[in-house]
C-alpha cells in the first residue's frame, strides 16, 4: 500500500521526525489558508501516488497566500501519470544548506533491509547511481538486531557529515528504521531530506509503501486514512476481493489462467503470435466452478476485451470445475466475445466431457490456443 506524502509525514511526525510546517488543502481557498498559517514563502505540492511529479509541473513555489491559491487551483486540475490530483500539500519553503537522499528498502538478494543514503540528494536515486555512484552509501540491517546507533553514525560519517551533524543524522536514520519496523514498511524514501542553514534535518518529501502482506497488522492506520488502501477501478477492486490477481493492459485478449507464471507466459504466447493481451487474470489455485465464472464475468466488464483465452494447467485446480464454470458463464450469457479454451491436468477427461456435451470446443496446448485466439480477433477486426 502506497501512502501519500502528507500521510507518510503524519507517521514521521508521530515518530518524532521533523517535517516543514504546513498542511493539506483540497481547494485553492484551503491552500491560501494553509499558506497564511505558515506565514512565509511556501511550496505547493501535488499529492499523487506517482513519481516525477516535479517534472510534470506538480510542485510550485509561492511567495504569498494568493499565489499559493493560484498554484493550487492549477495543480488540482492536473493529472499526473494518469492519476487525478485530489489534494496539495502546502509547506514552508526551507532555507536549504544541503539536500540529502535517505531511504530504506528490501534488498531481494541479501534478503535484508538496506539503508541507502547520499549527501547529494534532490535528483532520483537512479540518476544519482548513474552520475556519481560513489556518493551512494549502503548499509544492510541484520533482521534480528536491527539498526544499531553506531551503525547509523557510520552511515552519516560515510555520507560526508561531521561535527554534531553526525549524531543528528544518525538519530534521523534510527527513527526511520523504527518506522520501518513498526509499520512493516517495504520501501521508504526521503528525497530530499533537508539540512537547513540552522542545522536541522527536515523531511521535505516522503515516500512510504507498506508491505501488502502485513496490512492485517495495521487496520487502525488504514482506518485513520479514511480511504481505500489502493486506488483501483471497479473491476480491479472486485478481483482483489475475490483474491484473484488482475492487471489491465492495452490489448484486446483477456487471458484467464491459474497461476501467475502461467498467466504471464500465456500473455507472452499471445504476443508471440501477433496478438495483444488486455487482461492478466490469475484465478489462483484450486478454483471451483463459481470462481471461474466470476473471473470470466470480471474480465468481460473491461471494454477493450474482444476475445477470451482460458488457459488452465490443472494441479490443485480441477478441470471439471473449470469446465462447469465456463458452461455456467456461457449459459448465463456472460460471454459475448469469442472464447478459446485450453485445459489440461487434474480431471482433464471429466472436464473435457463436460465441455463436449455443452458443445464448447477446447484445445490441448497453450501454443495452439494462443494462435487460435489471435486469429479469431484478427478475423473479427
Amino acid at each position: 500500500m502506497k501512502l501519500f506524502e502528507h500521510e507518510a509525514k503524519d507517521i514521521f511526525r508521530a515518530f518524532g521526525m521533523q517535517t516543514p510546517p504546513g498542511g493539506v488543502a483540497k481547494t485553492p481557498e484551503e491552500a491560501k489558508k494553509r499558506a497564511a498559517e505558515v506565514g512565509k514563502p511556501v511550496v505547493v505540492k501535488a499529492q499523487v501516488l506517482a513519481g516525477k511529479r516535479g517534472k510534470a509541473g506538480g510542485v510550485k513555489f509561492a511567495d504569498t497566500p494568493e499565489e499559493a491559491a493560484k498554484h493550487a487551483e492549477e495543480i488540482l486540475k492536473m493529472k499526473i501519470n494518469n492519476l487525478p490530483v485530489k489534494a496539495v500539500l502546502v509547506e514552508e519553503k526551507l532555507d536549504i544548506q544541503q539536500e540529502i537522499y535517505a531511504g530504506i528498502t528490501v534488498d531481494r538478494n541479501e534478503r535484508k533491509y538496506v539503508i541507502i543514503g547520499s549527501g547529494a540528494g534532490g535528483m532520483s536515486i537512479e540518476e544519482l547511481a548513474e552520475e556519481s555512484p560513489e556518493k551512494i552509501i549502503k548499509h544492510h540491517v541484520e533482521p534480528d538486531f536491527g539498526l544499531q546507533p553506531f551503525e547509523a553514525r557510520e552511515i552519516a560519517i560515510a555520507m560526508g557529515f561531521s561535527g554534531k551533524n553526525i549524531s543528528t543524522l544518525a538519530g534521523f536514520f534510527l527513527k526511520l528504521w523504527e518506522i520501518v519496523k513498526a509499520q512493516d514498511v517495504e520501501l521508504t524514501e526521503i528525497n530530499p531530506l533537508i539540512l537547513t542553514a540552522d542545522g536541522r534535518f527536515l523531511a521535505a518529501d516522503a515516500r512510504l509503501n507498506i508491505d501488502d502482506n502485513a496490512l492485517y497488522k495495521h487496520k487502525k492506520l488504514i482506518e485513520s486514512l479514511k480511504r481505500e488502501p489502493m486506488e483501483q477501478n471497479e473491476r480491479e477492486r472486485e478481483a482483489t476481493q475475490e483474491g484473484m490477481a488482475y492487471v489491465e493492459l492495452d490489448g484486446d485478449i483477456a487471458c484467464i489462467c491459474n497461476g501467475a507464471g502461467l498467466t504471464m507466459a500465456t500473455l507472452d504466447a499471445v504476443s508471440l503470435y501477433g496478438g495483444k493481451a488486455s487482461t492478466f487474470l490469475d484465478l489462483g489455485g484450486g478454483s471451483d466452478a463459481e470462481r471461474v465464472e466470476k473471473g470470466i464475468e470480471i474480465a468481460m466488464k473491461y471494454g477493450k476485451v474482444k476475445a477470451i483465452l482460458v488457459n488452465i494447467m490443472g494441479g490443485i485446480t480441477r478441470c471439471d470445475e473449470v469446465a462447469k464454470g465456463i458452461v455456467a458463464a456461457k449459459r448465463d450469457g456472460d460471454i459475448t466475445v469469442p472464447l478459446v479454451i485450453r485445459m489440461v491436468g487434474t480431471n482433464e477427461e471429466e472436464g473435457q466431457e463436460i465441455l463436449r456435451q455443452a458443445g464448447i470446443p477446447f484445445l490441448k496446448t497453450m501454443e495452439e490456443a494462443a494462435q487460435r485466439v489471435v486469429s479469431l480477433v484478427e478475423e473479427g477486426a
Binding site: 534478503r111 508491505d211 492487471v247 507466459a265 500473455l267 491436468g345
Partner: protein, 289 residues
C-alpha cells in the same frame, strides 16, 4: 543422487489440521511421501489421514524421527512456524504459505542460514524428487517423471506446464524445486544451480524465471563461471508492463530493473539457450543432452 529430498526424508506437516494441510497431506501420502507426523498446538493425540498429530515440532520430531517440514500455516503465523522448524533442526523447511510479510521472511531466512538449513519458499509449490516418490508440496505428482534433469522455478503452474512437456518428450526430472514467487525467498537460483551442478544424478539444468529482481542474471553469471553441465531457461513476463505486480509479489519491473529482456540477455551471454515458449524447453533439452 538427488537434491535436498531423497527416500530417507521423513516429513512433518505444520498446520496439518487446516483444510490445506489436510488436503495436501493426503495427496502427498498418495504420491508416496514419507509423512510421519503433523503439528498443531492443542491437538496432540488426534490423527489426520492416519498421521499422528503433535503439539509442537520438537515433540513430533522426537517421536517420529522426522527431518524435514512442510508448512501450511496461515500467513500471519507462518514465520513463527518456520522458526519452530528451524529451532528443531529440520532441513529442508518448505514454506508453502503465500502472503507472508517480508520482514518475517528475512528473519526466517537468516535464522536458517546460521544453522545451514535450507528454506524453500515462502510462496512455493514445494520440491519433488520423482525417483524417490517424495513430494514436499502441492504439485500434481503425475506430471513429473523420474530422470536426470534438474528443474528450478519461481512459479507453480508454469513449472507443471514445463514438467509435463518434458515428461511427454520422455525427459525425466531428478528433482524439481519451486523457489517461490516472493521478493525474498530462502533457496536462491544460484544456490539451486550449485546443488544441481554438484549432484551426480543431474545431467542438465532447467531454470524457469520471471520478471522482477536480478536473481536470474546472477544465476546466469554463476553458470558462466562455474557450471559445465548444460542449462536451458525460460523467462515469463516478456510483455509485462513496468510498475505492475503480475500476480507474484516478486514479479514486478521497477524502473528499468527486473525486465525479461535483461534476464534473457544474461542467459544468452552465459551460453544458456532461452526458450521462446514453455514447450520449447523439451526441444532445447534434446539439443543439449
Amino acid at each position: 543422487m538427488v537434491v535436498l529430498v531423497d527416500k530417507d526424508t521423513r516429513v512433518i506437516i505444520q498446520g496439518i489440521t487446516g483444510s490445506q494441510g489436510t488436503f495436501h497431506s493426503e495427496s502427498m501420502l498418495m504420491y508416496g511421501t514419507k509423512i510421519v507426523a503433523g503439528v498443531r498446538a492443542g491437538k496432540q493425540g488426534e490423527e489426520v489421514n492416519g498421521i499422528p498429530v503433535y503439539d509442537s515440532v520438537k515433540a513430533a520430531r522426537d517421536a517420529q524421527n522426522a527431518n524435514a517440514s512442510v508448512i501450511f500455516v496461515p500467513a500471519p503465523f507462518a514465520g513463527d512456524a518456520a522458526l519452530e522448524a528451524i529451532a528443531a533442526d529440520l532441513n529442508p523447511v518448505v514454506v508453502i504459505t503465500e502472503h507472508v510479510p517480508v520482514f518475517d521472511e528475512m528473519r526466517i531466512i537468516h535464522a536458517a542460514k546460521r544453522k545451514d538449513i535450507t528454506v524453500i519458499g515462502p510462496n512455493t509449490p514445494g520440491i519433488i524428487t520423482p525417483s524417490a516418490k517424495q513430494k514436499l508440496g502441492i504439485m500434481p505428482g503425475h506430471v513429473f517423471s523420474g530422470g536426470r534433469v534438474g528443474l528450478m522455478s519461481r512459479s507453480g503452474t508454469l513449472t507443471y506446464e514445463i514438467a509435463a512437456g518434458m515428461t511427454n518428450a520422455g525427459i525425466g526430472i531428478s528433482t524439481a524445486i519451486g523457489l517461490g514467487g516472493d521478493p525474498c525467498v530462502g533457496l536462491t537460483p544460484i544456490e539451486a544451480v550449485d546443488l544441481f551442478n554438484k549432484d551426480s544424478g543431474t545431467d542438465a539444468i532447467v531454470l524457469v524465471g520471471e520478471i522482477g529482481g536480478d536473481a536470474e542474471e546472477r544465476a546466469a553469471a554463476y553458470i558462466k563461471d562455474h557450471v559445465k553441465k548444460p542449462a536451458v531457461a525460460f523467462i515469463a513476463g516478456r510483455t509485462a508492463p513496468p510498475g505492475k505486480r503480475m500476480g507474484h509479489a516478486g514479479a514486478i519491473i521497477s524502473g528499468s530493473s527486473g525486465t525479461a529482456a535483461a534476464k534473457i540477455e544474461a542467459f544468452t551471454d552465459a551460453g544458456v539457450p532461452v526458450a521462446e515458449k514453455p514447450s520449447d524447453i523439451a526441444k532445447l533439452l534434446k539439443d543439449v543432452l
